[in-house]
């Protein structure tokens, strides 16, 4: 796909998705004060 081997799409795409999920979790749970 896209002229790339599957491993490249899985590795790069996988890490990006995990990071977005973690930052989304941070945004949803951060209360904004100490």
């Amino acid at each position: 796909m896209l002229g790339l081997p599957d491993i490249t799409i899985i590795a790069v795409g996988g890490i990006v998705v995990v990071i977005i999920a973690l930052l989304l979790y941070w945004g949803l749970t951060f209360r904004g004060h100490d």
Binding site: T8, V12, I15, V16, I19, I20, L23, W26, R31, G32
Partner: protein, 508 residues
């Protein structure tokens, strides 16, 4: 290229706009706190775009594409970890530092270190000197990028390009402080984002489209489309060290971390990590892809790169020149690159000014100095650091990315452990922080030198070490912190409570 009036007009207008922002900002400066932390009044979008502008440096446009041209997909991790560094900075450093700074009035991150480790002189001075050294290394890399753009666009000599770019950036930074830097970054980052979103896809399209580019570079070398190299640079161990280098090293750099002290409201930290990651991630991925497209164009004989040692860093400039043969477009693109570089350069100059005038002069050498003299000294140091690094940058390094990573690596080895241990480990002591910072900085400079000059010593080939050199220095810094802290007297509970030290990010 030869200069023409359209180009001179577009670039000239941009420079006038920046100077105008500096002049406007200078009217808001009443004291040193206004100058160095913009009165702690930065709003949500100004903060996000300031963070993007600070992290998005000369490397982001020229070096990122240059590295993509040279080494292909295995370098793509740079495009993930650099945008992530903004979130790492905000989440792991920003929330706590901002909360503590509200009551303690920190102006620089050195204020925090001096307070947390009860070391108003020794650690503060060491942190400021280390910060100035690493910022200067980083600044030289930025200048190289600025001068490359002006040379390409106007066909003028390097020294003249450097003088023009330095004087403009120096002028608005010196007169307007962080207000000018932040608002200039707002304009620069918007210019950069829109420009890259429009122009990078055009370069990729001109090269035959994304799929064609990947298929073509795979025929040159199959490793160019793999996520990592089998051995050496960008092999899996190197990629992991790269994550640490960029994700954490950039996050704790003084010119990046000081931005969190200027934010108006801690609530801005809720969504800024995700938004910054998404915006900057798209921009920097596109830049890398434009580098791949440039490789295709060079191999297909569309253009040849100049016969200079850092030819690959010119690839995006030549790519845009051939994909869009319209003079005005080149001028606009030059402004975009200048915006990217200047948005980091100005923040570095100001950070150096702050570390010298506030941390060394006001807090150590002359505590009774009045605010007016500190403010004046900040401006003088901005000017001196700008001119000094300009002279060093006249001989550009072989590869822009390497010099900038060397700066980031030194930041990682020097600041990350004292900051993380200070914020999260109540056992971290003053002596531990001093040992960690001294050994981390020394080891990073030594390993960086050995690696850069490909030295073979002690039975090791420093050019072929499996991890980025700074990671070894980081480990030394970490071990020094743990061992020395366990052997020395702990910080008082009063200070640990004041600085919210403990195993949490935000107290519930």
């Amino acid at each position: 290229m030869e200069a023409d009036w359209i180009t001179i007009g577009v670039v000239g207008l941009y420079f006038i706009l920046m100077l105008g922002i500096g002049a406007w900002a200078s009217k808001k400066i009443k004291n040193t706190e206004d100058y160095l932390v913009a009165g702690r009044q930065l709003g949500f979008w100004v903060f996000i775009l300031l963070m993007i502008g600070t992290v998005c440096s000369g490397m982001s446009l020229l070096g990122v594409s240059g590295l993509g041209y040279k080494a292909g997909w295995p370098t793509i991790w740079e495009q993930i970890f650099v945008p992530l560094s903004i979130g790492v900075c905000i989440i792991f450093f920003g929330v706590k530092l901002h909360n503590v700074a509200k009551t303690s009035g920190y102006v620089t991150v050195q204020d925090y270190l001096a307070h947390r480790y009860e070391s108003p002189t020794a650690l503060r001075t060491l942190a400021a000197v280390a910060g100035i050294i690493v910022s200067l290394i980083y600044l030289v890399g930025q200048y190289t990028a600025i001068s490359m753009v002006l040379m390409w666009l106007f066909g003028i000599p390097l020294w003249l390009a450097l003088v023009i770019a330095t004087l403009v950036t120096m002028a608005y930074t010196a007169i307007g402080g962080l207000y000018a830097v932040a608002w200039a970054s707002l304009v620069q980052s918007i210019t950069l984002i829109i420009g890259v979103l429009v122009m990078a896809p055009l370069i990729i399209w001109y090269a035959g489209g994304f799929t064609h580019v990947n298929e073509f570079i795979a025929t040159i070398n199959p490793n160019l489309v793999m996520p990592w190299n089998p051995v050496g640079a960008f092999a899996p161990p190197y990629v992991v060290s790269f994550a640490l280098l960029l994700g954490l090293g950039l996050a704790c750099a003084p010119h990046v971390i000081n931005n969190v002290l200027a934010v108006k409201d801690v609530k801005y930290f809720k969504w800024s990590p995700l938004i910054a990651f998404l915006i900057y991630g798209v921009v920097i991925f596109l830049l890398k892809f434009a580098g791949f497209a440039g490789l295709v164009m060079v191999k297909e004989g569309v253009f040849t790169l100049p016969a200079v040692s850092n030819a690959q860093d010119f690839v995006i400039l030549y790519g845009i020149q051939y994909a869009m043969p319209i003079l005005a477009i080149w001028a606009i693109f030059a402004v975009i690159v200048l915006a990217a570089v200047m948005s980091t350069t100005d923040r570095l100059m100001l950070t150096i000014g702050a570390m010298f005038s506030w941390d060394i002069y006001k807090k150590v050498l002359k505590p009774d100095a009045d605010d007016k003299s500190v403010l004046l000294l900040s401006k003088i140091v901005v000017v001196i650091s700008a001119l000094g690094t300009m002279v060093i940058a006249i001989n550009p390094p072989e590869m822009l990315a390497i010099l900038i990573w060397m700066g980031i690596g030194t930041m990682l080895a020097t600041f990350s452990v004292p900051l993380l241990a200070g914020l999260y480990w109540r056992g971290a002591t003053r002596q531990g922080a001093l040992a960690s910072m001294t050994l981390g900085l020394s080891a990073a400079l030594l390993f960086g030198f050995l690696n850069y000059f490909k030295v073979k010593a002690l039975g090791m080939d420093f050019a072929a070490i499996p991890l980025h050199f700074s990671v070894y220095a980081f480990v030394i810094s970490l071990l020094a912190m743990i061992i020395v802290s366990l052997l020395t007297k702990k910080t008082t509970d009063k200070v640990l409570d004041e600085t919210q030290t403990g195993w949490y990010i935000s107290k519930q």
